[in-house]
């Protein structure tokens, strides 16, 4: 009897200890999972708020880009006015264009300065280059204007940059063509 009792008791307590251990492990694991999930959720909430703000600020980007095409075309139209066009008509059109720009300005759209500036790929896109006395990389011509929306690039300025005083024009021209042909981006 006695030996049996002695034997059975330790087994039972070991059993319980194992059980307690397993349960404790399970609990800490679950707690851990919960904490991770909870912190994940907290961060998720913050990101959702941030994303919503972004969406309001930037959600209309495609529309803004379409508006810019209209501005481009109005600017082209004004630039093409024959010299004998009625001045009041030209001025009136210019006023409409300015009004449109002012509306966009209020919504956070600003144009990017390009002319005479040093080329910066964050804001400018090269569409060609020409030899010139200006330092290499200076923007010589602005083919279409670039704009930012709330400081973020909306559309790069398309520019022609200086390739410096003397370059092997032919070779570069060739490369340009070959790039253009295979540029499938």
């Amino acid at each position: 009897m006695q030996p049996a009792k002695q034997q059975s008791e330790p087994i039972q307590s070991t059993d319980l200890e194992t059980q307690v251990k397993t349960l404790e492990d399970q609990l800490s694991e679950t707690k851990n999972e919960y904490l991770y999930l909870y912190s994940d959720f907290e961060n998720f909430k913050k990101r959702v708020i941030r994303e919503r703000t972004e969406l309001i600020r930037f959600g209309w980007e495609p529309l803004a880009q379409d508006f810019l095409l209209i501005i481009d075309n109005m600017e082209r139209a004004l630039a093409h006015m024959p010299p004998d066009t009625d001045k009041t008509l030209v001025d009136g059109l210019q006023m409409i264009l300015n009004q449109f720009k002012a509306v966009l300005d209020k919504q956070g759209i600003r144009h990017i300065d390009a002319l005479e500036k040093q080329f910066n790929p964050e804001f400018h896109e090269v569409i060609g280059h020409e030899p010139s006395e200006k330092t290499k990389g200076t923007i010589l011509k602005e083919e279409s204007r670039g704009y930012t929306l709330h400081g973020r690039l909306l559309r790069p300025a398309r520019v022609i940059v200086s390739s410096g005083l003397k370059t092997e024009d032919h070779e570069i021209q060739k490369q340009e063509e070959s790039y253009g042909k295979n540029n499938r981006h």
Partner: protein, 633 residues
Amino acid sequence: MARTIGIDLGTTNSCVATLEGGEPKVIPNAEGSNTTPSVVAFTEKGEKLVGQSAKRQAISNPERTVYEVKRLMGRKFQSKEVQEFIKVAPFKIVEAKNGDAWIKIGDREYSPPEISALILQKMKKTADDYFGESINEAVVTVPAYFNDAQRQATKDAGRIAGLDVKRIINEPTAAALAYGLDKKGKELTVAVFDLGGGTFDISILELGRGVFEVKATNGDTFLGGGNFDQRIIDWLSDEFRKETGIDVRKDRMALQRLKDAAEKAKIELSSTLETDINLPFLTADQTGPKHLNMKLTRSKMESLVGDLIDRVAGPCETCLKDAKKQKKDIDEVILVGGMTRMPKVQEKVRTIFGKEPQKGVNPDEVVAVGAAIQGGVLRGEVKDVLLLDVTPLSLGIETLGGVFTKLIDKNTTIPVKKSQVFSTAQDNQGAVTIHVLQGERDFAEYNKSLGRFDLVGIPPAPRGIPQIEVSFDIDANGLVHVSAKDLGTGKEQSIQITPSSGLNETEIQRMQREAEAHRAEDERRKEVVTARNQLDGLIYTIEKTVKDNANKVSADTRRLVDDAVAEARKHLESQDLDELKKATEQLTQASNKMAEELYKTSGPQQPGAGKPGEPGKEKRDEDIIDAEYKKAG
């Protein structure tokens, strides 16, 4: 918390995604774009540019701008693929000591993995910025045909970028994962059709018991969206030359505008049948400025690119043959790559495989999404995600006029608890019946009744004054507990609804369909009921005001208001929305007249005294809906 990102390292564009709370999420880069061009540039000043900015300076820096480096990954300089690429690449490709194809920029030679690493770094940074922490683990995808050397090269690229690449998986496998095909629980044969910016790949996969096996692949390494754009540009410039005699291809800026317009038109024609291409002042000659104004129809565009689309058929058939499969063996077809948005391409896929292709996941992002899911699986996140259920249908109660007022919307993740304050519809109403319903229709009678109970013993009060809070509580097991509490007396009644009294899948689907079908009709009827409730409320308010201020209102005004109320009552039962609105308007006019007189004679009244029907507390108006009135028992 450690996260794993999935990166689609593409030939022309790359994309990064991760799992957020078990759901895939594509991470936008700093410029706000979900994909980043796989272009790397080294400026003369020693700067490294990756993505959009690298692309923008390519023309002025062609020898130092590397694009489509994936074509060189793990390839020997002498291989056919490399030799073909050398013909068109403006940057210098050289043979390394071990025979591999490397890139030479100035005096330095770069291995393709080094260049790819810069792209991966940019993707990693995109994720780091998004989460505000450093992400180190990644799953990167490669084409199914990549051999061991190419896979190793990709893995090396990851290591150079500071990423622990947990696994390299095949792009078609990732796409299948994104569509959850691994969870279908049966063996499937899947065709993955990938038509991207510059390459076309077709793969046949077999999956069963959680294992993916690529049976065969094929494709065309020089077929993609760029070719389609070029066809439209050519057509536009040919037409323009016919009209004006001017070749715009010689005018840099005009050509740029044509390219933009062509791509825009192509994208638009995926959702419309016709698009206008308007390019005023495109160019000019001695006679003055010239405009381009053309209509491009979808069918015209399809005829322009017909032969390009036909080119996918050959590789698909060879692939089927190599996989020893027939058209009928294909269980699922998945579309990858932006060009698969084009209806004609989808139609072609349907003809080739005799199956409706799977859509739904953005084809530009599907591979990255699949990689993110694989990352989740490796981390154990996917299988360990708490399986939280959602409510399949909305839950709510019946309110005045038989309207079904939702408290918990469908697809809400449970457990969830929501409450709303309601009031009585009549003066001295002693009890309210809470009728609990489930469904999507706007009217109680069309939805499924789950149960009802009464809350009695509400102290006598004018209508709209008692505040009865109705709470819905669904626990994790789907048990719905509904209670109603009179906030004035603290009296409470509740009911528990067990899931067995709910609906089965077929019923749920039927109800969702019906709600969709009857939406317009229900909305109209609800407008009528709302208008009627409004008119009814107005009559009540006016009558009460008249009674309370009997001595302050002149007999004339009194008569006018009484007449107006009597007239309004005649219209109360009307089913016509306009009639109800008109009656409300006329009554408002009469009441305004009375109000004018009241304010003139007595000055400001006690706050809230003239506004019965609304509880005096700071509850928002929209929370107050008159509960359905029904005399208890």
